[in-house]
């Protein structure tokens, strides 16, 4: 079987990519391992999605519904319950091995490939916790899935490690469903999620947030019976003598997300160690011609609106690639002063480009400056900038002689 554009993942990124590729004349196949499209939005039943795109606060399923309806209107081929098992480059594109319960294993050849396969949660293996491995330890997203899609309450008395958005949202959700949340414990000196979530998920329900504090030990052999928590010093190491026991039957981990790209490994593409995703240009093309990446597979977004934006860009570019070919832009974007990262990492000259970036710490009164060979291209002032809140700027088309653009945040003194 053949197609022009194959999209892996029917979350908001993949749905947007599929619709955009179809709009630009490509034949599209959309593949997802789950039984329904929507990706992670299916379990994000809270509101707050679509503020930029629709100027409304939609719930996750409502946001996904609009994109699914658009894909439906194009009459695209969608394969649910279908895993991408393997992929490789072929003479005129990519050859993928797919599997589903109806067709078994089969190959599909495609001219362009869009990887919109999302991110995964960090786990306790990555944030090391001492102790046995009793039942009752979940990632916040797993708890979200169990409660919102299956109706199982994972526990009655819960401690949450990490103040990521999903953890704070689950603190409220668990409370509404009758569980008690003993507290949210954050090792850093400020919450890692959005302020709105701290106010409306924790403060509203009097759920305590402990900063500069972490979980040092999990107690219990068969089931969690409690956790030890301790204050940490400036070096983030537990302070001796500060350990106390918090009884609980469940520990949720909300310690961050990372792009998931294992499936792309056979293609030997260039990755960015800072984002955990592939290096892309503003068309979302990776270092492998014809391979595009978008959404949380490229870098972890906090706003679904930007996820959709990247999907539209990738889908449009993939359709164009089928007709005209091309390769990744060569202008390098250097993320300088006070930046955690900036995406895209490469630019194609002569085309407008949105650049998304995060600061590496909370800073008041800063100016973002983009420059090329000492010449200023763009500047914007921010009253306060925080790492959880990704920012977007738009650069005007670059002239052909520009080889690199440096962007950085300068503190106003």
């Amino acid at each position: 079987m053949h197609t022009d554009v194959l999209v892996i993942g029917a979350g908001p990124a993949g749905l947007a990519a599929a619709a955009a590729a179809a709009e630009h004349g490509a034949e599209v196949l959309l593949v997802d391992r789950e039984s329904r499209p929507g990706g992670i939005l299916k379990q994000c039943i809270h509101d707050g999605f679509g503020v930029i795109r629709y100027e409304e606060k939609l719930t996750g399923p409502e946001y996904a519904y609009r994109d699914i309806e658009a894909v439906r209107a194009y009459g695209l081929r969608v394969l649910n319950n279908t895993f991408v098992l393997d992929l490789k480059q072929s003479v005129d594109g990519f050859s993928l091995l797919l599997q589903n319960p109806i067709d078994g294993a089969f190959r599909v050849d495609t001219k362009a490939l869009v990887a919109a396969n999302g991110c995964r949660e960090r786990t306790s293996r990555q944030v090391f916790i001492h102790g046995d491995r009793p039942a009752g330890i979940y990632s916040a997203g797993t708890a979200q899935n169990l409660i919102n899609l299956h109706g199982y309450l994972p526990g009655r008395k819960v401690v949450i490690l990490g103040s990521g958005d999903i953890g704070m949202i689950m603190a409220r959700r668990l409370t509404l469903e009758g569980a008690e949340v003993a507290g949210v414990y954050e090792i850093k000196d400020e919450p890692s999620g959005l302020t709105r979530n701290r106010v409306q998920c924790l403060d509203d329900y009097n759920i305590p947030l402990y900063l500069n504090t972490t979980v040092t030990r999990v107690h219990g052999t068969k089931r969690v019976t409690g956790v030890s928590v301790a204050a940490v010093g400036a070096d983030l190491k537990p302070l001796p003598g500060s350990e106390t026991l918090v009884p609980c039957d469940t520990l949720l981990l909300s310690v961050g997300l990372i792009p998931e790209n294992d499936i792309l490994e056979p293609l030997a593409l260039e990755f960015d160690a800072k984002t955990g995703g592939p290096v892309v240009d503003q068309r979302m093309m990776t270092s492998v011609p014809g391979l595009f990446s978008c959404g949380n597979a490229t870098h972890v977004n906090d706003m679904v609106d930007y996820v959709s934006e990247s999907g539209f860009n990738a889908g449009r570019a993939a359709a164009n690639y089928c007709q005209h070919g091309g390769s990744q832009g060569s202008v390098e974007v250097v993320s300088g002063n006070n930046l955690l990262y900036a995406v895209p990492q490469r630019l194609v000259s002569g085309e407008e480009a949105a650049i998304y970036f995060r600061s590496d710490k909370t800073i008041d009164r800063v100016i973002l400056v983009a420059q090329a060979a000492g010449k200023e291209l763009f500047r914007e002032k921010y009253l306060r900038i925080r790492p959880p809140e990704m920012q977007k700027i738009v650069l005007q088309p670059l002239s052909p002689e520009v080889e690199s653009v440096e962007i950085g945040l300068e503190e106003v003194t």
Binding site: M1, A10, L29, L30, S35, R36, P37, G38, K42, I45, H46, D47, K57, T59, P61, E62, Y65, I68, V71, R72, L76, R77, V78, L79, N80, N81, T82, N100, I102, D103, F106, V108, I147, N148, L149, H150, G151, L176, E177, T195, R196, R198, V199, Q200, D203, D204, Y382, L383, R384, I385, R386, E389
Partner: protein, 127 residues
């Protein structure tokens, strides 16, 4: 009223606004602009939120339907509303926006579905 400390979420500055005083004699400190006063006044007099949760359905392939209040309801009534809507079961396949309760008892707002319970985009068999 006792002194209350709030975080204004109207802009990224996240000012800590302290509210004290009574009735229409409320005093606000810590806000860096007027929006903070409006926000804090609303929060101490009548805070409202959209409630999102799930309700049971009669369909084994879609056991829980995500729902929300059509508009904001008083924050203080959230647990009461949860009790009312926990007793509701959905017997039909609904779409986002479909009304489940015209009026949630104790409020003036409807309860609406937020997810599509119908078949997803249908799978096409390929070979």
């Amino acid at each position: 009223m006792e002194k209350r400390e709030l975080t204004c979420i109207q802009c990224p500055l996240s000012c800590r606004v302290t509210v004290s005083g009574e009735g229409d004699q409320l005093k606000f400190t810590g806000n860096q602009c007027k929006q903070g006063i409006e926000y804090a006044r609303q929060e101490v007099t009548n805070p409202t939120r959209t409630l999102t949760t799930t309700i049971a359905t009669a369909f084994p392939d879609f056991p829980l339907l995500p729902v929300r209040t059509a508009g904001e309801v008083p924050l203080g009534k959230i647990f009461e509303i949860m009790k009312v809507i926990r007793a509701v079961q959905v017997e039909q396949r609904l779409k986002p926006g479909d009304v489940i309760l015209e009026i949630i008892p104790g409020t003036d707002k409807a309860l609406i579905a937020t997810a599509d319970m119908c078949e997803g985009v249908s799978a096409v068999v390929v070979k």
